[in-house]
Amino acid sequence: MSVFKDAGHLFRFAGLFVLAFLLFLVIRHFVVPPSFGQYGHYRGAAMGEIAARPVKFAGHETCEACHSDVADAKKAGKHAHVNCEACHGPQEKHATSDDPSATKPPLPDSAVLCVRCHTASAAKPKGFPQVNPAEHSNGMPCDTCHKPHNPGMDAGGPK
């Protein structure tokens, strides 16, 4: 039995280990978030939190709910597949506002907006309509001739 007596200090050391481990388990029990491991090795609640972030682009369906006239005009022309907020910017605030006229978005400047897509560049796909803005319009704003919602020349603009 004296072996145990002479190895007593080792048991003390081991005891400290066990104590520390138990303490660790207790702390772990309290600090690990309850949803951890719900779906996998992560906090399940994180997805809900990320999904709850605010939306800023309302989506064209929302726009079209009120602006059906513009939607119809657009549908007939070459910009049919260009969504509203691609040009008008994020409009969730405008869409969900009690008084949408108070949050009416400013009209985009066609001189900046149109050239962003339609300036001629060798890097763009060949079939995409593109012009050299300076030569094309002699400095006239694009919407003198092209209606942004239906830009084709046969769509009612001046010939």
Partner: protein
């Protein structure tokens, strides 16, 4: 022995404060959204991209992406037929304000929009030491900003350069595939604002999604297939020179 206990004593109060916010409230996702019904990805149609930068700007606005960091960006390739392995690539400010006008020459030009590939076998989630980034049951790779240490190991592990450390929050940040939008039935901000339809959100578990027909009829590739990450950003018309 003293050390570990002392460390624990010091760390306890700090950890307790941090955890309080983590434990608080567990907001539910939109009630009619079932994660197991979806497997999200993205279709990127290179021949349609005009390099306008709308997607980059929309992403930055929708997600408050800090300046100088990108959840999505656009690259412009300029490839000579003689040296395909050494393309000239530019992406000024991630293509946010578009690209300089290119003059016609003997080489080919094209734009490549990039974003998180939402890999099914993602190397970034594999290396996270604590489980702060993960592939959600609907296939979206997300970061839990309340749990991330900011060790940047995931940034190192992403072969595509899609992650960054948020300069203010000091946690890893990346494309969420607009998780707050797609769980409400909306498309992503980049897809919503793309004027040419070069990007399309796809749900591989939805049998009615046109992606299935598209994949069947087009030669489609993912970026760096040799990495075997199970990338779900499918590129139509991807040139061999793209890295």
């Amino acid at each position: 022995m003293n050390i570990s206990r002392r460390q624990i004593l010091i760390l306890l109060p700090a950890a307790a404060v941090a955890w309080k916010s983590v434990l608080a409230g567990t907001p539910e996702t939109a009630s009619n959204y079932t994660m197991s019904d979806h497997w999200w990805g993205m279709l990127i149609d290179i021949p349609k991209c005009i390099g306008c930068g709308n997607c980059v700007r929309a992403c930055a606005m929708e997600n408050d992406v800090p300046d100088g960091h990108f959840r999505t960006w656009v690259e412009r390739y300029h490839v000579s037929d003689e040296d395909m392995t050494n393309p000239e690539v530019i992406s000024p400010d991630g293509g946010k304000e578009g690209f300089p006008v290119a003059e016609e020459d003997s080489k080919k030009y094209f734009f490549v929009p990039k974003m998180c590939n939402h890999c099914a076998d993602s190397p970034c989630t594999q290396v996270c030491p604590v489980g702060a980034t993960f592939v959600a049951p609907d296939g979206v790779v997300l970061v839990d900003p309340k749990y991330c240490l900011g060790c940047a190991y995931c940034v190192q592990a992403c072969p595509y350069g899609c992650r960054y450390i948020h300069p203010v929050k000091e946690v890893a940040d990346k494309c969420t595939l607009c998780y707050h939008r797609i769980t409400k039935g909306l498309t992503t901000a980049c897809c919503e604002s793309c004027p040419t339809g070069a990007r399309q959100l796809v749900d591989l578990k939805d049998p009615k999604d046109p992606i299935h027909e598209f994949l069947k009829t087009h030669p489609v590739q993912v970026l760096k297939p040799q990495m075997a990450t199970g990338a779900k950003a499918f590129y139509n018309g991807l040139d061999g020179s793209v890295r």
